[in-house]
C-alpha cells in the first residue's frame, strides 16, 4: 500500500467560488435546486468532517485526503484503480498498525455509491471513516475496533456516476450506471439520446401538456399532483415523460442515455448476460473500476464482513441474489439474522430482507461475489426512506390510499409536497413552468428535483449516516475473536504427552463462513504442531472430552484443519512424544494467528 502526497487543491476552491457566482447570477432559478453543488457548495473541508452537506466527487477525494493527513498513523489512502473516464477510485484503510499487520486482522470492507446517483452512500462511508479516526482514543469501543480490526473503505465506487450526478442535469435516478457505451435502442448508435435539460435548471424533470383528451387531471387540493382520470372523467393533461427532445431523430425521446451497464451486476459470481437481466456488461468485471476493486478485494482475503451502500428504501439486504443461489446454512443464517436484526434496531424503520425473495433476482451482484468468492458475510444497506419526510402531527397515521408498484399514491404525494414546502422550504420540488418545446409546443416542465426522492435533505443526513455507521460498527464488533488455550498437558508415559487445546471464539461470526467451507473456496484454518525434538504421534478434534472421544486424523496429525464457530469453541488433542520446546500455531485467513509455546 502506498502513501500518497496530497497537493493543495487551490483549483477546487476557485471552481467552487466561480460556481457560486454563476448560480447567483442565473435568473429565475432557485439556487437550492440548481445542481447537486448547492448541497455541497461549501469549499471548506475541515476535520472532523461535516455531514450537513454532500461532497461532490472532488470534495469527497479531498475529504479522504484530509482525514489521512490528520491521522497518518491510523490510515493509509491509495488509488485502487481508474474509471472509464479516468477518474481515480480511492480507498482509505483504517487500523492501528502497532497491533499488527492489516492482513492478519479480521477485515471489514465498506463501500458506497456503486450506483452513481446514490450519493449518500458515499457520505456514510466518509462518516464511518471520520468516526473511526476522530474518536480513536476517545471512545473505548471505537478504539478497540481500530486496534482489533482493519477497515477498508471505498466511499465512491462509481466515480464517473457521482461526478455526472453532481455536475449534469439529472433525475433522482439517472447516472446510475458506468460510462460504458451501450446501444440501448439497438439502432447501431451508442448513447446518442440523453434526456435534455430544456429549461437549464440542472434537473431532468417531467414534461406535461394541457390536453382535454389526456389521461390525467390535476388534483383539486394540490394542482402539482397528477391524478389518472377514471372512466367517464374528463382529462386535462398528458404526461410526456422526462424532459428532453428526440436527439437522434428516430421518433423516440431519451431512449439511449449513458450505458446502461450496471456496476452492481458485473461481478464474478453467478453472472448472467444482458438477455437474462438488463445492465449486465459483456462479461464479469466489465468496467475498469469494478475490475480493479475486484482485485483489491481478492488481495485482501482477511475481509470477513462486507457492507455495500445504496439508496433507497430503508433496507438491510442479505443474499442470495437468486433462488438458485441456495439458502445459507443454519450457522450462517444465525449470523446474518443476528447482524440484520440488530441493524434493524439501530436504524429505526429499516427492514432486514432477502434479495431474491423480498426484492428481485440479481445476477453477478457485488455481495454475491463477496459472499461466495471472498468468503465474507455481506450486507447491502439501502439508505433513506421517503416516508421519513413526514408532515403530520405527532401520533397520527401516515395518510395513504392504495399503493402498488404501478399505482399512484396521491395522498402520500401531497404529504411529501407539504414537507417540501414547509420543512425544506421548497428545495426538493421544481414548480411547473411553461416552456416552448420544439416538438410538443407549449408544455409545462416541473416535478421532483434530482436531489429529492432518494436522498435525505442535508438536515436529515447526519442522523441517518450516524445510525447506519453504527450498524457497521456493530457488525465489525462481531468479527471473530479467537483465543487459544492449552487446557490439559498430561504425561502418559516416558516422553509421551497428551496435550489438549481449546480455540474459543467470543464473537458471533465463525472463523470462516459455512458457505466457503461448503464450497471449498479456500483451506480451512490450520493448526500446526512443531518442535525440533518432538513427534506428533496422533492428533485430532475432541468430540467429547469427558469420554475421551477424539477423531484422530489418519495422516499428518501435526497439521489439523478447523473452523471455530461463532460464540463457540473447538478442542483438539495431540499425543506428542519427545522433549524440549514446541509450538502450537493457529492460522486463520479471516481470524488472524495465535501461538502457544511450551516445554515438554
Amino acid at each position: 500500500m502506498k502513501k500518497i502526497h496530497i497537493p493543495q487543491n487551490s483549483r477546487f476552491f476557485a471552481y467552487s467560488t466561480l460556481f457560486i457566482i454563476a448560480l447567483s447570477t442565473a435568473p429565475g432559478i432557485f439556487p437550492g435546486l440548481s445542481t447537486g453543488k448547492a448541497f455541497a457548495a461549501d469549499p471548506q473541508i475541515t476535520i472532523p468532517l461535516r455531514f450537513d452537506r454532500y461532497y461532490d466527487y472532488e470534495q469527497l477525494v479531498e475529504a479522504m485526503q484530509k482525514l489521512h493527513e490528520a491521522f497518518p498513523e491510523l490510515s493509509e489512502i491509495e488509488v485502487v484503480g481508474k474509471s472509464e473516464e479516468q477518474r481515480e477510485i480511492w480507498a482509505i484503510t483504517i487500523h492501528n498498525p502497532e497491533t499488527g499487520d492489516h492482513s492478519e486482522k479480521p477485515g471489514v470492507y465498506v463501500d458506497g455509491n456503486i450506483h452513481g446517483n446514490e450519493i449518500q452512500a458515499g457520505e456514510v462511508c466518509l462518516y464511518l471513516a471520520n468516526m473511526l479516526l476522530t474518536k480513536y482514543g476517545q471512545n473505548e469501543k471505537i478504539t478497540e475496533l481500530v486496534d482489533k480490526n482493519v477497515f477498508y473503505i471505498i466511499p465512491c465506487v462509481n466515480v464517473d456516476g457521482r461526478y455526472h450526478f453532481f455536475n449534469d442535469p439529472n433525475t433522482p435516478s439517472t447516472n446510475r450506471g458506468l460510462r460504458i457505451p451501450v446501444d440501448d435502442d439497438r439502432d447501431g448508435l451508442f448513447d446518442e439520446d440523453f434526456p435534455d435539460d430544456m429549461d437549464g435548471d440542472g434537473n431532468i424533470c417531467q414534461m406535461r401538456k394541457k390536453d382535454p383528451n389526456g389521461n390525467y387531471r390535476l388534483d383539486p387540493e394540490d394542482p402539482r399532483v397528477m391524478v389518472r382520470v377514471r372512466p367517464g372523467e374528463q382529462g386535462a393533461y398528458t404526461l410526456l415523460g422526462q424532459e428532453g427532445i428526440d436527439n437522434d431523430g428516430d421518433g423516440q425521446v431519451n431512449e439511449d442515455a449513458e450505458g446502461y451497464v450496471d456496476p452492481n451486476r458485473n461481478w464474478g459470481y453467478n453472472w448472467a448476460p444482458r438477455y437474462v437481466q438488463n445492465g449486465s456488461g459483456n462479461y464479469p468485471f466489465s468496467g475498469s473500476g469494478i475490475r480493479a476493486i475486484g482485485e483489491f478485494l481478492l488481495e485482501r482475503p482477511n475481509i470477513i464482513m462486507v457492507w455495500a451502500f445504496h439508496n433507497s428504501g430503508g433496507m438491510i439486504l442479505r443474499g442470495p441474489g437468486t433462488r438458485s443461489g441456495g439458502e445459507f446454512s443454519r450457522g450462517d443464517l444465525a449470523v446474518y439474522d443476528y447482524l440484520g436484526q440488530h441493524s434493524e434496531s439501530i436504524i429505526p424503520g429499516y427492514r432486514y430482507l432477502v434479495v431474491w425473495k423480498d426484492l428481485y433476482s440479481t445476477y453477478g451482484d457485488f455481495t454475491s461475489f463477496t459472499d461466495n468468492l471472498l468468503g465474507s458475510y455481506s450486507l447491502v444497506g439501502e439508505m433513506f426512506m421517503r416516508e421519513s419526510q413526514t408532515y403530520r402531527p405527532h401520533g397520527s397515521e401516515q395518510a395513504g390510499n392504495e399503493q402498488g408498484y404501478f399505482r399512484e399514491n396521491t395522498e402520500q404525494q401531497k404529504e411529501l409536497l407539504k414537507f417540501n414546502d414547509n420543512v425544506v422550504q421548497g428545495e426538493l420540488y421544481k414548480e411547473w413552468e411553461s416552456y416552448d418545446h420544439p416538438v410538443y409546443g407549449e408544455i409545462e416542465i416541473g416535478g421532483w428535483s434530482k436531489l429529492s426522492s432518494r436522498l435525505p435533505h442535508p438536515f436529515m443526513l447526519q442522523d441517518e449516516v450516524h445510525r447506519v455507521a453504527s450498524a457497521v460498527l456493530f457488525t465489525a464488533e462481531q468479527t471473530p475473536e479467537i483465543k487459544m488455550d492449552l487446557y490439559e498437558k498430561e504425561k502418559i508415559s516416558g516422553d509421551l504427552y497428551r496435550l489438549r487445546i481449546r480455540l474459543t471464539n467470543s464473537k458471533a461470526m465463525p472463523s470462516m463462513t459455512d458457505r466457503s467451507l461448503k464450497s471449498g473456496l479456500y483451506p480451512k484454518d490450520i493448526i500446526t504442531v512443531e518442535g525440533s525434538h518432538i513427534q506428533v504421534v496422533a492428533g485430532g478434534e475432541i468430540q467429547d472430552r469427558y469420554r475421551d472421544r477424539v477423531s484422530y486424523k489418519e495422516y499428518k496429525p501435526e497439521v489439523q484443519f478447523t473452523q471455530v464457530p461463532g460464540f463457540g469453541h473447538v478442542e483438539y488433542e495431540f499425543l506428542v512424544s519427545g522433549k524440549g520446546s514446541m509450538t502450537i500455531a493457529y492460522h486463520s485467513r479471516k481470524a488472524g494467528r495465535k501461538k502457544l509455546e511450551l516445554e515438554l
Binding site: 444482458r274 438477455y275 464479469p284
Partner: protein, 683 residues
C-alpha cells in the same frame, strides 16, 4: 539497373533474416512431430512476415506460464481499424491437451494465406494455441494429459499448493496407472483382455480386487496420491455461459484466466465476428450443440409468484408463456417503455438459456448432414465415437449463447471404432408395438420378438417363448409390453451397454485394439510389477497419454486435407445482406412511396435466433441520405434487427419531393456485409 539492384539487396537481406530469425519451416513439411507453443509462435511470425500486406500478428496475452498467446489476423483490412468484412474467429486447443487442434489452426492459417480467395471478403482471426501452458505438457517428460494453465491452485485445500503431482516411477516417460491388490479393491480385470480393468459389481456376486491410482507418490504424506499437481485453470471452461464455480479447473470466475479474458475482450471489440470456430474436443460440424437439457425454467410454462400475479391480474396457480406475460405486463408500465423478454426474465429471475433455439438447431442439423455428405464424397465415412459434448463454461457454448454467432468445431480425429457384427435387427419400436393387437404381435414370430427383446435390453431371464405364451394366454398384451420396454434402461449411443460394468469400456477396448493394430502396441504400457516406496508391491501400466486424442503426426496431413476445406465451405454460408430491390410509387402531389427490400441472400440467419434473443450482434442499419426531400413517414435511419437465411424484408417510407432528386439508400452491418443504391424520386 542500378535501381533494381538497389532494391534487391534489402529484399534479399530481409528474406534471409526472416529465415534466420524465425527458423521457419512450412507447417506441412514438419510432420514428424507436433509443434510446441514456441514453434507455433515462430511459425505464426514467419507466416505474417511472408504476407505482411494481408496479415497482422497480435499479442492477445501472456499466459501464467509466461507463454505468448498470439492471434494472427488475415484479410484485406488488416491495416484499418474499422472492418467492413465479416470475420471468423478460430481458436485452437483451449483445452490444451490437443496438439492436433493447434496444428490444424496453424495449417488453416497457412491454407488461407495460400489462397487469396479465402480472404477476399473475409477477415480471419486465428489463435492456434489458446492454452499454451497446458499444451507444453505434450512436449515434456514425463508425458501426461494436462488441460490446466500454470497458475497455482491448491486443489486439496491443504496447507500447501501444487505440492503433489504425478511421478514417473518406472521411468518410461509416461504417467500411466498403478494397480494394487487391496482389501478394499473395487476393480477387477476384464475377462476378454486382462490388460483392461472394470469395476466389480457386488450385486452380481463379484468381489473387487484392485485399487487404481495414477502413477505417482504421496509427496506430502497426506494419504492421497497426486491430488494436487501443478496447474490451475483449464482455459476452455473459463467462459461465462453456465460457468461452473468451485470446480478446481474452471478458475475463480469466468474470464479469471488471462487467456480466457483476452478472448472475451477481443470478441467484444470486434463486432465484425460473424462466426467462430473451435478446434478441440467437440465437433459441432458432426454433432450439433446439445438440446433437451432440463433447467430451472421452461419458458413456455412460467410460474408467476403471488406478489406479481396479483399486480398483473394473473393466476398464481397456472403457468404462462413468455408472450402471455409480456402481454400482461405491457399495460402496467409507463408509456414509452416496451416490455421485452429480458425485462420479464429479469424480474421473474428466469435465468440463462440452456438449450439451443429450435431455429438454430435446424441449420445446425442441415449443415451436419451436409458435412457427412461431404465426408462420404471423399470416401471418408467411418464409424466413429461421438465427439465430446461441449462443457459448461466452454468457449463453444459462450460463442453460441453469449456472442450470438454460429459456432462450429472439430475434434478432427478419434480412435477408430471397431467394426461391429451387424445382426439383423427386429425393425420394431415400442411405439409400433403399442398399437399392435395380440394377434399381430404373435404373427411376428419368435425370432423377431427375441431380437426386439434383446435390442430393448429386456433381461435374459425372459425368453421370447415365455412372452409369447403370456400374450397368448391373455396375461399381458403388446401395449403393456411396450410400456415395460420403455422403462428398461437403454443402450448408450455408442452401443455401450446400459450397465457398462459388465464389459470393458467400449472406448477403451477400441483404444486397445487401435494400439495393438495401428501402433504396434505402443499406445499401451504393459502392466509390470513395481515396488512402490509407500504402497508396496503393485503393477504399473495402462494407456499411453494422448493415445485417444492424438494420432501419430505422420497421418495428420491427410486428416487436415480432409477436414479443413469444410471450414471454407462453412464460411460461404455466412449471412450476406444486400439491397434486393427498390421501388418508387407516385402517390400524387409530390408524395411518393419508397419501398426497399433488404435481403439475406445466404444460408445462415442474421443473426442466429439466440443472437436475436440476447440482442448481442450489432443490428444492420438502412440509411437514407440526400437533399430536396422530406420524409412523411419513417426515419432516415432504420435498424434491421434480423433477416433469416434466404429471406427478404420490405421497408417503406412516404417521401415528399417537389423536384427530381436522388436518395442514397445504404445498408450497413458490422458482420454481414454492406450495400448501397441510389433511387431517383420526384420531378
Amino acid at each position: 539497373m542500378k535501381n533494381i539492384f538497389g532494391h534487391l539487396v534489402p529484399v534479399v537481406y530481409l528474406f534471409i533474416s526472416v529465415l534466420f530469425m524465425s527458423g521457419f519451416t512450412p507447417v506441412r513439411a514438419q510432420q514428424d512431430k507436433y509443434p510446441d507453443p514456441a514453434q507455433i509462435n515462430r511459425s505464426l511470425r514467419a507466416l505474417q512476415r511472408s504476407n505482411p500486406a494481408f496479415s497482422e500478428l497480435n499479442l492477445l496475452t501472456t499466459s501464467p506460464g509466461n507463454n505468448e498467446v498470439l492471434l494472427l489476423e488475415i484479410g484485406k483490412e488488416v491495416a484499418s481499424g474499422e472492418k467492413t468484412n465479416p470475420a471468423i474467429l478460430v481458436v485452437g486447443n483451449l483445452e490444451g491437451n490437443r496438439p492436433l487442434a493447434s496444428l490444424a489452426a496453424l495449417s488453416l492459417a497457412e491454407r488461407i494465406l495460400d489462397d487469396p480467395g479465402t480472404y477476399a471478403n473475409r477477415t480471419w482471426y486465428i489463435v492456434p494455441a489458446g492454452n499454451p501452458d497446458a499444451l507444453y505438457s505434450y512436449f515434456r517428460d514425463p508425458l501426461f494429459e494436462n488441460t490446466r494453465n500454470a497458475s497455482p491452485h491448491n486443489d486439496d485445500r491443504d496447507e500447501a499448493t501444487d505440492e503433489d503431482g504425478f511421478n514417473d516411477l518406472n521411468g518410461d516417460g509416461y504417467i500411466t496407472k498403478m494397480r494394487i491388490i487391496h482389501p478394499e479393491g473395487e476393480w477387477i480385470q476384464v475377462k476378454d483382455d486382462p490388460r483392461l480393468m472394470r469395476r466389480a459389481d457386488p450385486v452380481k456376486g463379484e468381489q473387487g480386487i484392485y485399487r487404481i491410482f495414477d502413477e505417482g507418490l504421496d509427496a506430502d504424506g497426506d494419504g492421497k496420491y497426486n491430488e494436487d499437481g501443478p496447474g490451475g485453470t483449464n482455459v476452455n471452461i473459463n467462459f461465462p455461459h453456465l460457468f461452473k464455480a468451485f470446480d478446481p479447473e474452471s478458475g475463480l470466475y469466468p474470464g479469471s484466466s488471462p487467456e480466457g479474458r483476452a478472448i472475451l475482450e477481443f470478441a467484444y471489440v470486434h463486432p465484425e465476428i460473424a462466426m467462430t470456430f473451435a478446434f478441440g474436443a467437440t465437433n459441432f460440424c458432426h454433432t450439433p450443440p446439445r438440446g433437451g437439457r432440463r433447467g430451472e425454467v421452461d419458458l413456455t410454462r412460467i410460474e408467476i409468484p403471488e406478489r406479481y400475479a396479483e399486480m398483473f391480474g394473473a393466476d398464481p396457480g397456472r403457468t404462462y408463456s413468455m408472450e402471455e406475460i409480456i402481454a400482461l405486463v405491457q399495460p402496467m408500465v409507463p408509456e414509452g417503455v416496451t416490455v421485452d423478454e429480458s425485462m420479464v426474465a429479469g424480474f421473474l429471475g428466469l435465468g440463462a438459456a440452456i438449450n439451443p433455439m429450435e431455429e438454430d438447431l435446424a441449420f445446425y442439423n442441415l449443415l451436419s448432414e451436409d458435412y457427412r455428405k461431404y465426408l462420404e464424397e471423399k470416401n471418408a465415412k467411418e464409424e466413429r465415437f461421438d465427439p465430446d459434448r461441449a462443457r459448461d463454461g466452454s468457449f463453444e457454448l459462450w460463442c453460441y449463447y453469449h456472442l450470438g454467432v454460429p459456432v462450429f468445431s472439430m475434434d478432427l480425429w478419434s480412435v477408430p471404432k471397431p467394426a461391429r457384427e451387424e445382426k439383423e435387427g427386429s425393425g420394431l419400436s415400442p411405439e409400433q408395438l403399442e398399437k399392435m393387437t395380440s394377434e399381430e404381435f404373435l404373427a411376428l414370430g419368435e425370432e423377431k420378438i427375441a431380437a426386439f427383446m434383446e435390442e430393448a435390453c429386456v433381461p435374459e431371464q425372459f425368453s421370447a417363448k415365455e412372452v409369447m405364451a403370456s400374450v397368448k394366454g391373455g396375461q399381458t398384451d403388446p401395449a403393456q409390453l411396450a410400456a415395460m420396454v420403455k422403462q428398461m434402461p437403454k443402450k448408450g449411443k455408442d452401443g455401450e451397454d446400459a450397465n457398462p460394468e459388465e464389459k470393458a469400456n467400449p472406448k477403451e477396448k477400441a483404444m486397445l485394439d487401435y494400439s495393438d493394430k495401428a501402433l504396434g502396441g505402443k499406445g499401451f504400457v504393459q502392466w509390470e510389477k513395481f515396488e512402490h516406496p509407500q504402497l508396496g508391491e503393485l503393477e504399473i501400466g495402462g494407456f499411453v497419454p494422448f493415445t485417444a486424442t492424438t494420432p501419430p503426426c505422420s497421418i495428420t496431413d491427410s486428416i487436415l486435407d480432409l477436414h479443413l476445406p469444410w471450414i471454407f465451405k462453412l464460411s460461404e454460408r455466412l449471412p450476406s445482406l444486400g439491397i434486393y430491390e427498390t421501388r418508387v410509387t407516385p402517390k400524387g402531389a409530390g408524395v411518393y412511396q419508397l419501398e426497399v427490400w433488404v435481403e439475406n441472400a445466404s444460408f445462415l440467419p442474421f443473426p442466429t435466433a439466440m443472437g436475436r434473443r440476447n440482442r448481442q450482434p450489432a443490428p444492420a442499419v438502412v440509411l437514407l441520405e440526400g437533399k430536396g426531400y422530406t420524409l412523411l413517414s419513417g426515419y432516415p435511419r432504420t435498424p434491421v434487427a434480423d433477416l433469416k437465411g434466404n429471406s427478404r424484408k420490405k421497408l417503406t417510407w412516404l417521401v415528399r419531393a417537389e423536384k427530381k432528386t436522388d436518395i442514397l439508400v445504404s445498408l450497413t452491418s458490422k458482420s454481414a456485409g454492406s450495400d448501397q443504391t441510389t433511387v431517383n424520386i420526384g420531378g
